[in-house]
Amino acid sequence: MKKKLLLIALGSFLLLANVFAQQKVISGKVTSSEDGMIIPGASVKIKGSSLAVQTNTSGLYSILAKSTDVLVFSYIGMTPHEQVVGSNTSINVVLKPNSEALNEVVVTAFGIPRDKKSIGYSAQTLKGSEIADTQRDNFLNALQGRVAGATITPTTGAPGASATMIIRGGVSLDGDNSPLFVVDGMPISNRTFSDYNLVGQGSFNRQTDYGNKAMDINPEEIETITILKGPEASALYGTEGASGAVVITTKRAKAGTTRVSYSNSFRVTNTYRYPEVQTVYAGGTGGIFDEEQRTRTFFGSKYPEGKQMYDNIGNFYKTGFAQKHNTVVEGGTDKLSMRTALSYNNETGVVPGTGFRSLNGKITATSKISEKINMNASLNMISSKTDKTYKGVSSPMLSALSWPLTDDMRNYLTPLGERRTVTGSLGGELDNPYWGVNRNPNWDKNNRVLANVNVEYKPLDWLSLKGMAGADIYAQSGLSAYDVQSYEANKANTTNAGGSLNTYNANERLITGTFLATAKKDFGKFKPLVTLGTDIRDDSYQVNAQFGTRYYQPNFFSMNNIDPTTQRVAYTDELKRKVGVFGSANLGYDEFLYLNMTGRLDLTSTLPQKNYSFFYPSVSLSFVFSELKPLKELSWLSFGKLRSSIGLSGKDARVAYITKNKLIAQQTTGGGYALDATMGNPNLEAEFSTQSEVGLEMAFFKNRLSFDFSLYQSLSDKQITAPRLSYASGSVLQYINSGKIRSRGFELLVKGSPVRNKNFSWDISANAARNRGKILSLPAGQDVFYVSDTWLFDNVRAQYSKGSSISAFASYDFYRNDKGQLLINPINGMPIRDLTFRQFGDRAPDISVGLTNSFTYKNFNLSFLLDMRKGGDIYNATELYLYTRGLSKLSLDREVPRIIEGVFRDGLENTANPTKNNVVVIPYVTTAYYSTYFNSADFIERDVNWIRLKDITLAYAFPNKAFANNKTFKSLSLFVTGTDLLLITNYKGVDPSVNGLSAAAGGLGGTGIDFGSVGLPRGLNFGLKVGF
């Protein structure tokens, strides 16, 4: 094969040399007729040959051609222009906008490109460069604010952190709401390793994050991203696409002479927002200052005047640094072209010891084997390592916050080199963060291959047969450990006594295959497009996890260094297979009416065989009214389309092996097996959701202004969830078909170009979305349903009840009387906690808005994205943690005597004359006011709004003149990009875009739960792009 490639390359080179003689250099400029502006990136091609060049950033090109050649000038949205070379050496061309400018091509399911106007559902496409220019490692984070109706929540701001993406608010109560990720037509895995695969379930995804797998995709290699949200699109991808699909097309080799480009980016990051702590009252209890600072609760007297204070948290977080290098080599002929891309990324985080390194290599070949056969193949190899730290309950963040300000936290070792504590007790306080990041290692390694090949055969000009196969294979391994002297190894009731080690090796192999037959033939005004296909998916996943305690030799973290009698293993082996048969018929009439129907039959291995196949259809209509006679004449109306769609989509069980009872090996005396807490359900069937959508797209003034509005509803029924049951069933949980959830919302996308002239242009793109979910009935007719993993600090958790949404919170509250007055305990004058969970708040925002502005002045470009959100509640568990320790600024008035407004619970509370509270409390003395009698519900911050400058980029491209006589360099541009530079919010904590769990959690996960996690750091990137 290698030899063949070489021969082909050599052959084409000789061919080129042969024609050199008769050629001359043609150069010129390509501009737009609309505003006279230059068009960079326009293609100039010699008709009938593979020779092509692109105009540079100044709209200039130069090409070798014979006088008999015909040059074809083309650009997206413009009508191509042809011109014979003749005797000219300079040809300037003015391209006219295509009247059907919105006639963009959208890559739909299985990579089928279709005219946008024929699509009856919403599909938003983003350019890869827009994503790559944000310089984010995890491209998902660049989508926040750019995609209407999608919410991306990073787990933490640490390097290599996972991000959760949920389209249209999600519908699954406790299952997977993640969209399907498809790269070049083949689905890839976006799994986030789950703690549940560790021995003893780890920390239930609360303390460790593992990165979501889609982040392995190199943003620089993305050509376009299309987000499919509507029913038809997901119906074609089958059950995996029921939560939407993110369809990524990567860059393919472009024919032409060899091009080499290199770009780099250097980034500094820092954390600038911390939770605020009070600096008035010192450590101690009941107003007595513990001079020696032997406590980490702060109910002492005021700090003495002139006491030395340390900025412990400020000292701890450092400046992160990242460097990224990308090299691309591409070229070839029409028959065979290749592209290789290599990217290296090395990053250190703001928390010492954290970092992310990756090496990403990709090779893509595009070949035209014959006139009728095209073939594409790509191979992408990724190797990465993440060094991380714990988050949540015993994280460095919480420890740094509760470290006494009068003590220098940098002092983390005793003179003997042991862990230095404040209280003198290893198990009584959190690890010093410096010590913790050093001595509690936590990392993951990942090696992955993504391979993809597709062959298209066109036996007839109206028929195309396409076969695609993809493989996504990776091995991930990781280790998380606690040192023998750590808090976790010494706290009460610990399972980590003597130090502990959790390791795992995970292997996933996802193989997919698709066969498609597409027929497209026009019969006069009828333009049908029919696709029939079948696909197959085989997903195999194994995890070997090991756990042990008691190190022989301290500070050496290997399973070989663990007391063998404590070693335990957990083995997971999951195989899921799916086969689908589908068809779609798109019937177009006269360029203005399109009817599209799809149907899909899925067969799955995760349902009992009696229920294993299910069928679901969809239908959509696209009506391009601007094509109608009278409207077509209107000069101000460029485009108008009305669309609607309705579809059913089926979902199988996302988890394998839940139809039969499972037995779990027991560690108790005598060993043996006992039934798992989750009972099998042999009657499980597919769940269905009905999704309907209407939309209106319009463009005005030669496409200078356009909008796209969608209104949708989805109704999910017989959802497969695992509610808890009465133990009288013989079990604790069971996957059952139940519950009915409705979600409604709208999305609006507006684009405009207020200014467009020769030197200056201004483009705006804005999107707004709102989603409201409502639970119509809960599993098993129960009153409430909660996601237990979210119950991670105190008594607030994600809990839903009939009528609430699936993003609702529940919390403990104080007791109140009929009039809503607080009930007070007459003995101590304190409010009384009602120890039952009540619905309290909702994490879903009222509306979220993304606003992108792009300004171009000559060779300068400035663009920025504002991400805005109104409403939605956040549980500020970090603040509650600080509050109960006397660290919250809310406790500064502790010396003020007060009578808590309320009435005694003395039997008269609901009468006409309740007894008013008259007990005076001075929290300074009665510190239980903070530590015991707090109200959990008070820490759910209501209606949190934010405006965040997600990213801003200033780029400068050197004018082409600069390289006119340069043989080496062809282009050069410089850029500066800032990420998360500014956040304006009414939220009292660090960052309201938080996740208390990792992306592995089910339902809506831990979004909206802020507990001891590092917010997104501010980043400043600068770099250059060079073309050779």
Binding site: T495, G670, G672, A728, S729
Partner: protein, 517 residues
């Protein structure tokens, strides 16, 4: 290429049509078995039995005053809202045992392994008995019905009848000589009786004895039947039902041992100290020192044995050397470390589910009520002797002279004529120290604690005292039952629970069926 595509199409067609079903038939976990036989399911059952009792004993132990130190609301007869605490016996009965026992019966029914079926029925009988004695009304008839999500509660009377039925069925199965249930098959899995059918039959009779003996307040009470059951039950300490604990890891160690460190905060109680130094038997403190004392409890640093009063913490200080030891025998609530501790509070100590001593006291009580004082006295002496032997094996061996001396002492009634119900019940209370939590509670409740039953019997008067105040929700009443498990019933089966008043704050003070006349 055309061929390739045709091949693809053919391949796809083949998969979709014929091979599909087989190709997709992979929904069986290769990492974990989804069916196992009875032998593999049996060993964990025993751990579940002790788990239920021991977890809940953290609260019940305080209520009946085996454990002191005001560690939790147990000593106040209270409850904790929205918590699974005190709901472990519930879990054991329905989840730890229940569903697994159903699998065993299913598996062994097909294989005609009648000893396994007998064992499953015996454990079911035990489970229902202890669960109803602990909770009162429970879900019986609708349990394990997979076609419902609301499970109604049944009366304790129904549960008592079911226990009798199951124990008799179990006895019948263990009596069978046909089928394929061999000792070789059953022995290795049976961590308690090593496949000895005779002992399992005795265990069943022991359950029947408990069942019948709790009914003293009922017209149907039949002491002769109780005696008959006892006589067919455990006949010596060798028949004791003891759940073994290996004690090397946190998973296989005794929940009451230092490795699990659950009892650090608990203190020995005044009532136990008073029983072991003769105070409550003779009226004089220190009159008769029980030979079991050093094995069961621990002396303070100053050489005096002390225990906490109901719902009081340890008033002692290190300086005054009057700190009260915890269950492991150490001061200041410390944990002595793995492999330390004493009595039943050691990592590898087995946990008794039923002992010969208990049976003899049941017999003594029944015989006493029947008026057969001679029979009662013999059983009473047997019970004390068996308890001394049992305790002797759990620490420093008690010399036989000390045993005889105690049996001849003023703490022990020497003639049938002198024997009182109080002697029997207090010796039983002492003998069941540290394990017979639910059984002792049944005794306390059937005699209305220190109030006495309808007939005027009041064996615990002057010995068992209530805490100065009960838990706030109690309305001044002692606890009579525990609530069903929160995360099973209060969250997911509240409708059914409301019908029996389970949503009321003082539900736990409602008298259960057997203690009502």
């Amino acid at each position: 290429m055309k061929k390739l595509n045709i091949l693809c199409a053919v391949f796809a067609l083949v998969i979709v049509s014929s091979g599909c079903k087989k190709y997709l038939d992979v929904n069986t976990d290769p990492a974990t078995p989804q069916t196992v036989n009875s032998k593999t399911l049996t060993p964990p059952l025993f751990a579940q039995m002790e788990r239920g009792v021991q977890f809940d004993a953290r609260y019940l132990g305080g209520l009946i005053q085996y454990f002191g130190g005001a560690v939790n609301v147990g000593e106040q007869h209270g409850w904790i809202a929205a918590s699974d605490a005190m709901g472990e016996i519930w879990r054991t009965n329905y989840f730890g045992l229940g569903a697994n026992l159903n699998l065993i019966i299913e598996d062994s029914q097909a294989k005609q392994e009648y000893n396994y079926i007998g064992m499953a029925q015996a454990l079911k009988a035990w489970g229902w008995q202890i669960t109803t004695d602990y909770h009162g009304d429970i879900i019986l008839k609708e349990a394990y019905d997979l076609n419902r999500y609301v499970y109604d509660y049944d009366s304790q009377q129904d549960v008592y009848a079911e226990v009798v039925r199951l124990a008799n069925e179990s006895i019948a199965n263990f009596t069978r000589t046909d089928g394929n249930g061999t000792v070789v098959k059953f022995g290795p899995a049976d961590l308690v009786y090593q496949g000895d059918n005779a002992k399992w039959i005795k265990f069943n009779y022991g359950i029947l004895a408990r069942n019948a003996n709790n009914l003293i307040n009922k017209a149907s009470y039949n002491p002769a039947k109780v005696i008959e059951y006892v006589d067919k039950s455990l006949s010596g300490n060798g028949d004791n039902f003891i759940v073994p604990n290996t004690g090397t890891t946190a998973s296989n160690a005794n929940f009451f041992g230092p490795l699990r460190a659950n009892l650090n905060a608990y203190r020995q109680t005044r009532i136990i100290v008073g029983l072991l130094d003769g105070s409550y038997f003779t009226g004089t403190s220190g009159a008769v020192i029980d030979p079991r004392r050093n094995n069961m409890i621990t002396v303070s640093a100053d050489g005096v044995f002390r225990g906490t009063a109901p719902y009081s913490s340890d008033p002692g200080t290190a300086v005054n050397k009057n700190q009260i030891p915890n269950m492991y025998g150490v001061l200041g609530g410390a944990n002595p470390g793995p492999n330390q501790g004493k009595y039943l509070y050691r990592d590898n100590a087995g946990f008794p589910i039923m002992t010969y001593a208990e049976m003899q006291f049941i017999k003594a009580e029944a015989a006493f009520r029947m008026g057969n004082l001679q029979l009662a006295h013999t059983a009473y002496l047997n019970g004390i002797g068996a308890s001394i032997d049992f305790v002797s094996a759990l620490g420093t061996a008690i010399p036989s002279v000390d045993r005889s001396a105690y049996l001849a002492s003023a703490s022990v009634k020497q003639t049938p004529a002198l024997l009182t119900l109080k002697d029997i019940m207090l010796q039983k209370y002492l003998a069941l120290y540290g394990y017979g939590f639910v059984e002792t509670w049944c005794d306390l409740r059937k005699y209305n604690y220190n109030v006495g039953d309808a007939a005027g019997n009041n064996p615990y008067a002057g010995t068992y005292f209530f805490p100065t105040t009960f838990f706030a929700d109690n309305g001044g009443k002692p606890a009579q039952r525990y609530r069903p498990r929160f995360n099973s019933e209060y969250v997911w089966n509240l409708e059914a629970l409301k019908k029996i008043g389970g949503d009321k704050v003082d539900y736990h003070t409602y008298k259960i069926w057997f203690s009502q006349p």
